[in-house]
Subunit: 278 residues, 2 copies
């Protein structure tokens, strides 16, 4: 099976390195950066590679698009004429419904696209973040659509298992986006808003403890990527922010009214839920 | 120097254990729980101890009140008649202006109260959380008031240094409360509101990654203590929440307007500030 990976950054590079380590010999890498290809070849992450996808596309059975959300559908549209019959494509993006809608409009019948979301980000950018152990014990979400062939879904799931993913969960694209808005995008929105507050100053760290450091970690954010993720999921994210605001307003109201009883109830509710989870 | 500690929980117990380790022999412990006193004596955290403060108070030169905010002023009022001339009191609470106002109204002239905030919390409760290494490399804030004698401030600072605190910063009570509202209380409010959201469910962890786990850690909160901390600082906390909301609203507005340019600017601002700090 010939596997192509487009975009050998921290995620795509980790797919390449992990698949090679798992015994998949025929891994081909494509990147716009020649130096990245050189490093990938030298380190054995890929069997062959280059900057021109057309050199490899006709031979590929599986193609992993490690691209930004906005690049997925345009790629499919541009290169569809060169797809091998039966090509299985997959992506790694953190939003699904908008991407799926865009891809569906341009995907040729001879190809199948299995939409997936490996749940293990990277603070590192570029091929220096490639790590064959990145996905060990990670979770992934697969969001099948009607046109997917079961065998193709299983092909992608098998690759994920080989990479070390432990839990693969199939969910609807809509559920994926609603839940990701809450557990991931809302966290990033809150962290960014905390750091952007007018209260932020050079004196902040004199007063800050662990919780501030932890909560603001993800405010160091890849703006190019996350602006796409936010905007592609903006309805679900706005809903999630509004549901969060309901609870923040309840806290505020208890402060305004000096209402210790309600405040304690809110704390108790949170403690119970948090302990139920972890 | 005879040092008394009231409340041998995770914080008070760590003060006791740390002071004994640092060579302060004459450490006396008072707690409402007899079993706690027994453990403290057996483990050598204290020289003597008991449940009745009156047995020790007349001999004490320094008294550390490791009590809840609401207990500080009532304690001072009740036991002032038994204070030794020149007693130096100190507290460990995370709010200052309201506590100071309450204490000032009842503090006798023969005693001085150095208000302090050791910045190292505990997830553990009770004496089992006592640890002589707890305060190594921790920071502390001292909030002097006009009536404090410089030598008494230095007495407390010396004890903190002996416990392993590295940075002791003197700030005004008002600045303390404003900054703590931002770096600590706001974090707890956000975490609680996230966990209390209607979006929370048994499925959440299928989708959650590191950021969700980190950001919700402090939603497992001691409601008895934190309701007091919040309500004693509610004006500053409400201000801090409102300043946070200004930034959250800016993010929301960029989503509503599908405004990628503004969104990227907000992310860039956050990234720059976060990297400036850490």
């Amino acid at each position: 099976m010939n596997i192509g990976i487009i975009g050998l950054g921290a995620i795509g590079g980790s797919f390449a390195a992990g698949l090679r380590t798992a015994g998949y010999d025929d891994v081909y890498g494509i990147d716009i950066d020649e130096e990245t290809i050189r490093i990938a070849l030298e380190s054995g992450m890929i069997k062959q590679g280059g900057t021109n996808i057309k050199d490899f596309l006709p031979e590929l059975d599986v193609l992993i698009l490690s691209l930004y959300p906005s690049q997925i559908a345009p790629f499919v549209e541009q290169y569809a004429p060169f797809f091998k019959q039966g090509l299985v494509l997959t992506d790694v993006t953190g939003v699904k419904t908008t991407i799926i809608e865009q891809v569906r409009a341009v995907l040729p019948p001879k190809a199948d696209f299995i939409f997936a979301h490996p749940m293990r980000g990277s603070e590192k950018k570029g091929i220096s973040g490639a790590d064959h152990t990145r996905f060990l014990n990670a979770n992934a979400l697969i969001t099948p659509i009607d046109s997917n062939l079961e065998e193709n879904i299983q092909t992608i799931e098998k690759l994920y298992k080989a990479l070390g993913f432990t839990t693969l969960t199939r969910v609807s694209p809509e559920q994926h986006d609603e839940q990701i808005a809450y557990v991931s995008q809302l966290m990033h929105a809150l962290s960014v808003a905390v750091v952007n507050s007018i209260q932020a100053s050079d004196e902040t760290l004199t007063f800050a403890g662990n919780s501030f450091q932890e909560l603001t970690r993800i405010a160091d954010i890849n703006g190019e990527l996350w602006s796409e993720l936010f905007l592609n999921n903006r309805t679900a994210l706005l809903d999630s922010i509004e549901q969060f605001e309901v609870e923040l307003n309840a806290l505020k109201q208890s402060l305004i009214e000096n209402d210790e009883h309600t405040l304690k109830q809110l704390f108790k509710q949170a403690t119970t839920q948090r302990r139920h989870w972890y």
